[in-house]
Amino acid sequence: MATISLETIRKVYAGDVEAVKGVSIDIADGEFIVLVGPSGCGKSTLLRMIAGLEDITSGEARIGEKVVNKVDPADRDIAMVFQNYALYPHMTVYNNLAYGLKNRGTPKAEIERRVKEAARILEIGDYLDRKPRALSGGQRQRVAMGRAIVREPAAFLFDEPLSNLDAKLRVQMRVEIKRLQRELGTTSVYVTHDQLEAMTLADRLVVLNGGNIEQIGAPIEVYQNPASTFVASFIGSPAMNLLKVTAGEVGLALESGSGLSGPNSKGKDRYTLGIRPEHLEVSDGPTDGDGLSLEVTVNVLELVGAESFVYASFADGGPEIVLRVPSHARYTPGETLHLKALAEDVRFFDADTGKLIG
């Protein structure tokens, strides 16, 4: 159990590639932090710096009260779960779990107790004598988690642990990781590129882009008020609709020329409008008021089960927009739709910096 704090952490690789550009995060004891971002955003590098597998170019990393910049991974009191599990292929599951404890000189009886306990929690007790290759992907994943649990570390570090599992198992393990972390109350840092995993697991999300933090916040906060167009387009599936508009004399105009009416941003005449697909609603005709109102042509209807997504575009092209409709709704391609949205659901972003306005 420990807090982790990072202070203006930078990582520069040989050849002046700056992978992480001065990141500061304070992680509370027992908190589940998810680092999320597209590939190459520096999230894995950051995690590996916490683990001690990469040197920290500058800045300070602390686990508990201790500055760990120069501390060996083994002495940082952390445990890591890898994407490809990294189980020792020649050892039985039991020995895989016990290896770290043996190296630390833990008494045999204590090792046995802890391994049995971890096996019970993860329901892998029946496989303790097997080798990793005789296990399925999900079972290997559990063993990898078990190896982290038996150590009873100050923090768990997860490096995209579910990426190698099939969709169904991924959902199952996701729930399990969450439950486990709650139960054990161990501080956790979890890296993923899957925004759904990030949303469901995190106490707090850290959205990274190009080595910088775009936003830190609770998942719902990040979802509702994305700090930038990057976060808006990264979190949520399908992503938030972003419309670059110019405020004219009669409402708003898209770059392509199509008009729409919508709430005005404070003082700016060029900005980006953001609206989530679920906040768009089909209406009978153009609506008045300070809400958003626009007219689009249906391109594709995508039925995903409980709901459908309608992909539509403006009369003269422009950006494609997505809206969520109930699955019983039927729209045919080519059909014209009037859409509306409440003013309070619309977000404004600066046209140049992409930052949230207001």
């Binding site: 683990a51 890898f82 490809n84």
Partner: protein, 280 residues
């Protein structure tokens, strides 16, 4: 699915016959007595002197000093073959470990230096090597026969390639689990290399077993005679009216062939295991 046809079997049978035929002839010839072999050449029938010949070859002394019994030579060959194989594996594994897992100045350069020694076979450097061994006072010792040949570019290269294919996460997991460089090598790397080790063991054992020139240079004492040299020794009595003991030479040849065959048979199951099961 491919169905095996008669012609496939014919080709395989023919192939095995070509391989086994000469060996069978050697074995059958060794069961005849020397005079008969001298008179009629190679034999394809059972001669009935099997126990006599082999007992004589294994337990009765030959050579000038009478210290070189077949058993002794068998043991010498074993020491040479196993010493070669084990020594080369240990050395080349450690060299490859250093090259792959440690950043040191000019590491790649050193690797290529080792690699280019492939271009310098033993025969090229045999005179200076002899000089070195002689100055170290290691002539007529087992270590003199084995140690100078232990550096192995082939082995180092194989292990380097293998280590490079081991996922980095395994090292990282081990580091987090508190394993230092030495522990990682012994606990993780060596066990997962075991199929690789088996493959190299086969190659190196046979190579060491079949050494002829080098042991002959290094040792003059008959106590250190190997089987391969022994065969030659028997045929050297071609002086005067004496008939060489062809049967004994053939018997020695059979004995000389057996251990490498056993090694290959024993290790091949590991070998195939290594090819079919991904153990990483």
């Amino acid at each position: 699915m491919y169905r095996t046809r008669l012609s496939d079997h014919l080709i395989l049978i023919l192939g095995s016959f070509m391989m086994i035929g000469p060996v069978a002839v050697i074995f059958l010839t060794s069961t005849h007595d020397a005079v008969e072999v001298h008179r009629h050449g190679l034999m394809a029938t059972w001669g009935g002197h099997f126990t006599d010949t082999y007992r004589k070859v294994l337990f009765e002394s030959g050579g000038f000093t009478g210290q070189a019994t077949g058993l002794r030579m068998l043991m010498n060959s074993m020491i040479l073959g196993i010493g070669f194989a084990v020594g080369k594996i240990v050395l080349s594994m450690m060299a490859a470990y250093a090259i792959v897992y440690f950043r040191f100045r000019m590491g790649t350069f050193f690797f290529w230096v080792i690699f280019t020694t492939l271009l310098l076979p033993l025969e090229v450097r045999i005179v200076p090597s002899y000089e070195v061994v002689q100055k170290l006072g290691m002539l007529n010792t087992y270590s003199g026969m084995i140690v100078p040949l232990l550096a192995s570019a082939t082995g180092t290269f194989y292990f380097r390639q293998f280590f490079k294919s081991v996922p980095d996460e395994l090292l990282e997991a081990a580091r987090i689990d508190g394993a230092g460089p030495w522990k990682f090598f012994i606990d993780i790397l060596v066990p997962i290399s075991k199929t690789m080790i088996a493959a190299i063991f086969i190659i190196m054992f046979v190579y060491g077993w079949n050494q002829y020139l080098w042991p002959m240079m290094m040792t003059s004492d008959e106590v250190y005679f190997t089987l391969v040299r022994g065969i030659k020794q028997i045929l050297l009595v071609w002086v005067g009216s004496q008939i060489p003991d062809y049967n004994e030479a053939f018997a020695l040849a059979v004995l000389a062939m057996l251990p490498p065959v056993i090694v290959v048979v024993v290790f091949q199951s590991w070998f195939i295991k290594g090819l079919t099961e991904s153990d990483k």
